[in-house]
Structures are given as C-alpha cells and as structure tokens.
Symmetry: D2
Subunit: 141 residues, 4 copies
Amino acid sequence: MVQNVIERTIVWGDLDALGIVFYPRYSEWIDACGHHFFDKLGLNLGQLWSERGIQFGLLETSCRYHQSGRYFQRIKIVTAIETLTEKTVYLSHRIYDREDEILMVDGLEKRICMDVSDSKRFRGLEIPTDVYSILQQAVNS
Amino acid sequence: MVQNVIERTIVWGDLDALGIVFYPRYSEWIDACGHHFFDKLGLNLGQLWSERGIQFGLLETSCRYHQSGRYFQRIKIVTAIETLTEKTVYLSHRIYDREDEILMVDGLEKRICMDVSDSKRFRGLEIPTDVYSILQQAVNS
Amino acid sequence: MVQNVIERTIVWGDLDALGIVFYPRYSEWIDACGHHFFDKLGLNLGQLWSERGIQFGLLETSCRYHQSGRYFQRIKIVTAIETLTEKTVYLSHRIYDREDEILMVDGLEKRICMDVSDSKRFRGLEIPTDVYSILQQAVNS
Amino acid sequence: MVQNVIERTIVWGDLDALGIVFYPRYSEWIDACGHHFFDKLGLNLGQLWSERGIQFGLLETSCRYHQSGRYFQRIKIVTAIETLTEKTVYLSHRIYDREDEILMVDGLEKRICMDVSDSKRFRGLEIPTDVYSILQQAVNS
C-alpha cells in the first residue's frame, strides 16, 4: 500500500489560547497531504483539473484527537487510501509525533470524483479508468 | 431544546480555487458557533477557563458536505446539543442557505470537559454539577 | 466619504497562545471588509469578475497594531477609500473596540485594477469609467 | 548577516478563487518564519516566553506583492534582521520562487520586546542584554 509522509513543525499560528493546535489547522494539513498524496501517485490534482476538468471533492471528513499538538513539536502525517470505489476514494491521514511515534490525530477524508468543467454546477462521476487503475495499484502495492 | 443561530456571509477568503468554500473554514465557523452556543447559555468558555480552569476540548469532529458554499452566499449555522453525558457534550451544527433553507453542511463536535489549570497537562473530568444542569436544561427545554 | 462598517466578535479561533488575536486574522477580516465595501457601492467583486473579467488585486498591504484583541471582544471595522487613481484604489480599514471606540488596528490595502480574464496571466488596467465614477463618488460624497 | 531559509510548496488551501495565494496566507508563513529565525539563533520564542515571560509582539507589518503564487509552486522564504534597536527588531522576509529565484513577495515585521508575564497586560521593555547581543551578532556576522 502506497503511503505518503509529510513532515512539519507546529508553529505559533497553529496554536489556540491554550497553547495547543486549534483543530481546524489539522484539517488544513490533512487537505494538503491529500494533494501531496495524489501528486506522489502522478495524479497532480491541479493538472487533473486544468487538463481534464476533474476534481476530488469532499463528501465527508472526520478527525479524532488523541493528543494535543504543542509549539515547535515535530510531527509527520502519513496518508494512504483506506477505501476505493468506482466513484469515491477515502483517504486516511494519521498524524504522529516524530520523536516518539505516538498517534496524535487520525483523520478521514471521503472524496468523490467530480466533473467540475462547468464551474457553476459540479456533478459526481465515475473515476476515469486510467486514474482508477493508478489508485488501485496504490492500494494493492 | 435550546438552539443558537449565527448568520454570516461567505467571503472571498473562504473560497478555494474552484470558487467554493475550502472545507476547513467550516470547522472554524463551527468552533466559533460552539463558543457562541455556550455563551448563550450563560457559560462563556473564556470565563469558565479563567475563573474555574475548565475547558471543553475536542475528542472528535465530523462534517458532511451536501452543497458547496459560494461567494457572498448568506448562510446560517444552527447549533444545539445532540448528546450530553457526565463528561461529554456533543454539539450538532447545521449550516443552511439563508434564502432557501437548504442544508449545506452538517457537523458534529464531540467535546469533553477538561481540567486545564495545569497548562502542561490537561485531564478529563466530570462536568461540574452547576454546568451540567445548565446544559441539561438546554437539552430539555 | 462613504464608509462601510462591519461588526464582529473575536472568537477562540482568532487567538494565539498569548490569548490575543493572531495578526494574520486581521488581514482576513480586512480583506473581507474590502469586499463588503465594494458590494455596498454596488460593485460586487464576484460579479465584476464573472461578468467583466475584472478584479482588484493587491499591490501592498500594511497594518499597525495599537491594542491587542481579546476573547469575545466586540469590534467594528470601518472601511473607506483613502486614495483613488486611474488604476488603483487604496482602502483604509480601522478596527475599533465597539464599547470604548479605541482604535485597535489600522490597515491599508493598495489594490490595482486587473484584467483577470486570462486566468494564467493577469495584467493591470485602468479602472473602467463607470466603476471609477462610482468610486469617485464614494470619495466625494 | 544571519539568514534563515524555509522552503514550502503552495497548496490548494492557500489559494483563492482566482487560483492564486490568498494574501493573509503570506502573513501566516512570515510569522512562522520569524519564529524559525529566532529558533535558529538559539532564541526559541516558546522558551523565552515560558522561562522568562518575554515575547516579541507586533507593532506593524507590511507586504508588497510582486508576483502571484500558484498551485504546487515551490517557494522559499528568506528571513533576516533589517533593523535592531534597544526595544525593537525588524525582520525582513523575502519570498522567492525556488526555480527561477524571482522575488514574489517581500514583507516586513516590526516587533517589540514585551513583558507578557501578566497575561492581562503586556508592556514594552528593553531587549535583555544577552538576547540583544545574540541579535546583534546575527546582524553583524
């Protein structure tokens, strides 16, 4: 199973008044890691959009918070496909402390393939065969 | 059941490159609406923290996205308690278009009562009796 | 001189670990207030873009911070045109506490009129006559 | 003169509806780069705060935007001290495209040394001698 790992350091602007990460920041990182994951597979989402009018939109997201993130903590985010269907791809994102490997947050993004060529009206569609086979290979390898 | 309603207008900075709301923005609004909801009940979370060392931390969040938000769309967010236990309160947040009342996003925050008086180490605790009875009244009224 | 006033309450997610507003949040609000200001003049920037391929892009921004914003503080942001030239419009944004009217932040956005009809390459252009006369009226009235 | 360089890739969540970086994101990165710069000098701002009750607060910020940032563009941010006085340190942050070295944004943060040990009331103070001499060395080296 292909995984992508992104490292980052928690910074001042990620923190809330308690000195721990404000939770919508996790969603921002997770979204970015989804894009990095697709890019790693050779499926840059910017190109998929500009060249083929396709995007993977969000149906549902969820996050469980196990341990608070702190200032200058070094973390890593591990992204992989959890489920693949004809129209959808579910990505799991696990955020770990980089020193002790403790799981801090685990998140899930349920994304659906969309035709976004009409910017006013998006509609779900089956993942194109070539894209699907790349995703399937990422699951099976 | 007590509900709190917050109105807002979607602005430029909420949008992604597709011209629809970037999903972590919903989490930001939902978090804010949670704070407004507590404040409406007379439980301002800033005061609970500074006066009693208590905060309601996040265990889990989830969001389902039904319809994309667009530039200058006028929305409202309706917040209520979904579940109340001795240690936790789950808040539901439903985001609607203000004109046609269509449900755009529904989100859930599972929050746990925490003693945060030691800023280095937070720990779960039972919701204090007076706070619990206010929350229970919000469920039952 | 036409002014637009937007009120808001500082929320948890706006704060940093010191319990005061994290300064890029001011820029987010200021940008939103710029869009509200144009909309008030009958120049909705979303429409200007979709109907005429025009946007007002940023050349330069600056902010001076006089007093820290705190949790649940009620503020207002007053936006007006500071300077208008053939190609540019400078917006001043003053953020006040709503109770005591103390100036907390003052910001400036230098915006230039751009043809953005080619999404790959934007270029500066003179503000169209009808738009310019609306802006000039906002300065003079 | 000591410089700190941080590399990053522009991601989906940084973009606005025009497909270019929404400008408050630059402020977020610049703030983070300020913290990285201090950390590089051995002056971790989290430690300065927790151990000595000191923080470098913002007096003023400004940014000039020369070229738009785009999806998956690889950039670097170069941070250095521009001016050092008894109470203040001004940091310059220059954002470049990593391939062609073109300057995209240059920003300035005017920071003042503050005693923040009383969380309700911050006040400016002279930069402590040991901290000042580290900063001065960063200017002169």
